[in-house]
Symmetry: C2
Subunit: 361 residues, 2 copies
């Protein structure tokens, strides 16, 4: 390492500013390239202390969770996808009464109440809006005029470019291992994040499989400027998910989640008891059921039934692969603190001894 | 960072030795845990300069590739799974004539010629053997008596523990995104590596989705002590894969590989032209075809036909998701050099500025 000479040169670029870092010594010139935005850029965009987002999951968010996450310096999010317009209004009001810092609302753009939600968001001056499952073209302008930071969730580099073209401020690159609704490409976080980072100039937030300081550092190594965690925040005390669902997650082992209903809308579900909805879908898909049959089997209201009402037999249990690794139930603020402290210690420890080997010398 | 006090304490453990690193300051005590083996431990085990393994893929390895990889300081591997016993013997002879350093042979334990391959390996004194697709119990003792380092490929923490119990020296944790034959759990590299690292004390080599310095650093952040790359080494000049297959990989975009034939043996394949074998399998599976039907459709010899003979229509094209990111065809030695140099520069750059943010201070 001592053989390196570092030349730092500041280049202002767009809103963010980007560093071009020259490296001499025995490092080939070709590896010099424009650096991607760093975590501080994302923190500035979100108004948070930490580049950590609690995902806006359906049925598994609420003002208490978002307030606790916000107070700990990360970004708490309300998932509007499972709220009626009046509910979202009430949740935002309660959240603002409990916490006067930044927070976000996640709006799946294909949901029926989108227009009403957008009016609520604009009227309430929601600082950050995550959009997903639909084209970012229609609402990005409206939201930005209302003063919001707009972030779109993508499952491919092609969608990321479209989102950037639509004027969003950042994207979430969400991999195959994530819980709930998911991309058809099945691209995992390890492959998706570098591809999206290379495709766009705006900050990229990694999601899918992230739950601790190690995976957070891995996501940053891949070029992300921050992380979004969903499953990890389902397993917190303030999360309104049903206790039976949380217990099922604690008991989950590897291989018990599966991306299902690909012919309808791909969604990662956790296995329930023998003969549960999960088994029924699995069986129907093995038999080659068509989209119509699957849609009828799905019916309505299963997500609420599983995640909020704790009906493990008939409900949908949306959770990521990382459920196999989750078995504690901290308070949300404690979780954020722990992530940051472990990151700090882990990263420092690695920097002290870990990433290098003799062959590099 | 200046508020930290580091206490390093050496604890000898088994063959490797492990550091226990204490951290004080504002970091909670609970994060103190035994460090995992570092890349130097793996390099010592493999006899290489770099903790990088070229995977022993069927139909896509050969003595020229392994020799070039070895000369560049990484570990080259012959994939015995697609070789007759006499071929493996001849390949090992040629490899030894071209390169007198360490190399490996990969043996899928369920293949018919396993016994003959094992005799060849013992007689030739092959220094490192990767075993996969079967129980490591039967052959680990034999191989270790023959003086080989034995490494087993796993797709879950449960298999990793079994491999450790069987006495292997290390495991490869290979995620869902990897090409070729793959686990039924569908656990991605981001979720699998930390789970395996937590489950065993032996070194863990990460595989699946790894292709550059970023993903290599991400794998090390997750706790791996090294990386195995397959698809990346298919795209090298010395690789005996057919030029038409390589060109197809260069043209591949996200979402064009799929884990298929799950009812027979799960394998990640790349889409061929309209109406190709890939489409036939996809269609059959959509229709709910049973294992017998799929086995008949698969028939015999498709892997060779696709990857070695370049028949994109009727052959199997085994490659990882990362094919979407590969479009150059370097020499294998040049690739290893570039990985190491980029890692060095990238890691140093990140250490200089990237992973930290103001909220950590």
């Amino acid at each position: 390492m001592s053989s390196y000479v570092w030349i730092s040169h500041l280049v202002t670029q767009g809103v963010y500013g980007a560093y071009t870092l020259g490296v001499s010594g025995n490092v080939p010139f070709c590896i010099m390239k424009k650096d991607k935005p760093c975590p501080d850029v994302l923190c500035a965009l979100l108004g948070t202390r930490h580049p950590i987002v609690q995902a806006g999951m359906v049925w598994c968010t609420g003002w208490e969770l978002a307030a606790e996450v916000g107070k700990a310096g990360a970004l708490g999010t309300l998932g509007a996808g499972s709220m009626y317009p009046e509910e979202l209004k009430a949740e935002i009001q309660r959240l603002k009464a409990a916490w006067d810092g930044p927070f976000a609302v996640n709006v799946p753009l294909l949901y029926p109440d989108v227009e009403a939600h957008m009016e609520t968001i604009a009227a309430a001056g929601v600082p950050v809006v995550f959009t997903s499952a639909g084209s970012p073209k229609k609402w990005t302008g409206f939201l930005k005029e209302a003063g919001a930071t707009v972030i779109h969730v993508v499952s491919s580099a092609a969608f990321a470019r479209k989102a950037e073209d639509a004027g969003v401020d950042a994207v979430v690159a969400e991999g195959f291992e994530a819980g709930g609704h998911n991309g058809r490409e099945e691209t995992t976080t390890m492959c998706l994040v570098p591809e999206v980072v290379d495709a766009v100039s705006i900050p990229v937030i990694a999601a899918g499989g992230l739950h601790d300081a190690r995976s957070m550092l891995a996501a940053l190594a891949l070029g992300a400027t921050g992380v979004q965690m969903g499953s990890r925040f389902v397993m917190t005390q303030e999360n309104p998910a049903h206790a039976a669902f949380k217990q099922r997650i604690a008991d989950a082992v590897a291989g018990e989640t599966r991306l299902m209903l690909k012919d309808v809308t791909p969604v990662r579900l956790l296995r329930g008891p023998e003969g549960s909805f999960f088994d029924q879908v699995h069986h129907a898909e093995e038999e080659g059921a068509d989209a119509q049959t699957l849609r009828e089997l799905l019916g309505r209201g299963r997500a609420k039934r599983g995640m909020r009402e704790g009906d493990l037999m008939e409900g949908e249990l949306e959770i990521g692969q990382v459920s196999a690794l989750l078995d504690d139930l901290p308070r949300a603020g404690q979780l954020v603190d722990q992530l940051v402290q472990e990151f700090k210690a882990f990263n420092t420890r690695q920097m002290a001894k870990g990433f290098f080997w003799k062959g590099l010398e």
